[in-house]
Amino acid sequence: MKTAVEIDVNSGIGTAVMPKISHSRGYSCSMLNNTQPFSEIFDPAQGQPGLIQEIPELRATKILECTQCGKCAAACPLVLSGFSFYNKRVIQTIVVGFKDLILNDSSIWACQSCNRCTEVCPMGVDPFEIMLATRRMAVREYALPTTAIEGIKSLYDTGHAVYISEAGIPRKKLGLPETPPTTTTYHEALLEVQTIMKKTVLAELGLIPMGVFGITERL
């Protein structure tokens, strides 16, 4: 019988076997690899020492203030729902230097951005900022889920991360204009959004077709 979290006393960073909700709650197994327990033993000496430098460069400057007290984890919805890499453990893994562990897991992309961690952190670390910086690091390694790419593409193509083209029908029924007064109605506004996005790192990364650096969409 497995307990909720098994800490391996021989390891440096505490290997954990995450509880599978699928077993205890009767749900079917999830599609993503965050349900797979990782029970190898990690040698902290094998970590990549420079990893901790990358995070402040990606604009999360207070990571070294973290004392691993765990208040953020106690408040985190990712912990409550059994994801492997929540705020505290992401920070710990970065400090020890295991980039692949984080990149091979979808946890950071499930962060709800709820900011509970930022609210409770006694050291002013702003763990949410670190989750975002970790995502930025993953994006630079092209390790991001397709849902994220879809959202970015939708943002570029329509000005909205969530866009439903059939929304015109219910909107019309309610007596609202078929499209809201946003970039979806005003094409010049959409061009402004696209101009801004072309001026950011997104264009250099080439994640979505933006008509720059020779990457265009051909149907």
Partner: protein
């Protein structure tokens, strides 16, 4: 009084009935809404914020610039929009370097970020600017005898130090409770009040785990207070709690359903809006609850 209406993707495309409710309620409380023509996504944290801080701030700044050109603050009914815009403003105002970089990008489209306008969440906005007394006077139908469960919405409460209309104690939120009580409803507490609903990035990454959070929440609501309605302050919580109950029923996890409304929908109803219209996209119909109330006034 005039304020810009930052609609937000989920409200505009998923729940236009909520948009209608806001457009109904605000003018009737004496607040004129400006459309902020040309507004875009906030942007939400899974997109630009996960790629580049300056790009995130630039897209946020463009929305602020539209409000600034009209000399208005913005209101939104979505916690995600609220949280994203609050943060971009904080980054740009506390870091001159970021603001400069952003304005260099905005130059390309002929706009400028000055840092005047603020974003405010619709419910605390009405609480502070209109006040409970005026809302009580304006309502046509009262909710006496109705029990509601609250779901305030994470980013409405946290991080409190960045917010203009913050709660005195974000871990014991009062604003939404007092706003519901002003309409006549009774609002008992329940143990998982502050729990996350599971919407957002978690739902798009792993639905099972997202449903698990929603189930915990809904079970707690049902077993502890068994309310007529769940009232949220956030459009994401509205969508999550409204849609997951159907999934949970199919999986035999729950055997009941509780209608979910955004506070703005409930307010619009109390101010005299057609209940059919302002809740038209709800999967779980609140008709019985609302029509029962209306019958009292026949």
């Amino acid at each position: 009084m005039k304020v810009g209406f930052f609609i937000g993707c989920n409200t505009a495309f998923n729940r236009p009935d909520l948009e209608l409710a806001v457009r109904y309620a605000f003018p009737r409380l004496g607040v004129e809404l400006d459309d902020l023509i040309g507004q875009s996504c906030c942007p939400t944290s899974g997109t630009m914020p996960s790629i580049d801080l300056v790009g995130w701030c630039a897209l946020g700044a463009r929305n602020y610039a539209i409000a600034e050109e009209r000399g208005l603050d913005m209101i939104t009914v979505c916690s995600t929009c609220f949280g994203s815009l609050v943060r971009t403003r904080y980054y740009m105002l506390t870091n001159r370097g970021i603001q400069k970089q952003v304005n260099r990008i905005l130059q390309e489209i002929g706009r400028e970020y000055k840092g005047i306008s603020r974003v405010r969440h619709a419910t605390p906005y009405l609480y502070k600017e209109i006040g409970l007394e005026k809302i009580k006077e304006a309502v046509k139908y009262r909710l006496d005898g109705l029990t509601v469960a609250l779901q305030p919405g994470c980013l409405t409460l946290w991080p409190s130090q960045l917010q203009a209309d913050k709660e005195n104690d974000p871990f014991h939120p009062q604003i939404l409770r007092e706003m519901c009580e002003a309409l006549g409803a009774s609002v008992p507490g329940y143990s998982r009040l502050l729990d996350c609903c599971g919407m957002g990035a978690m739902r798009s990454t792993d639905m099972e785990r997202s449903f698990y959070l929603a189930e915990r929440k809904i079970t707690s609501i049902r077993t502890e207070i068994n309310p007529h309605l769940i009232v949220t302050g956030c459009s994401s919580c509205l969508i999550q709690l409204d849609t997951t109950q159907e999934f949970l029923q199919k999986r035999r996890r729950i055997y009941y359903e509780i209608p979910v409304l955004h506070y703005m929908q409930l307010l619009a109803f109390c101010l005299g809006a057609d209940p059919e219209a302002v809740t038209s996209m709800s999967r779980i119909r609140p008709d019985r609850v609302l029509l029962d109330l209306l019958l009292r006034y026949q």
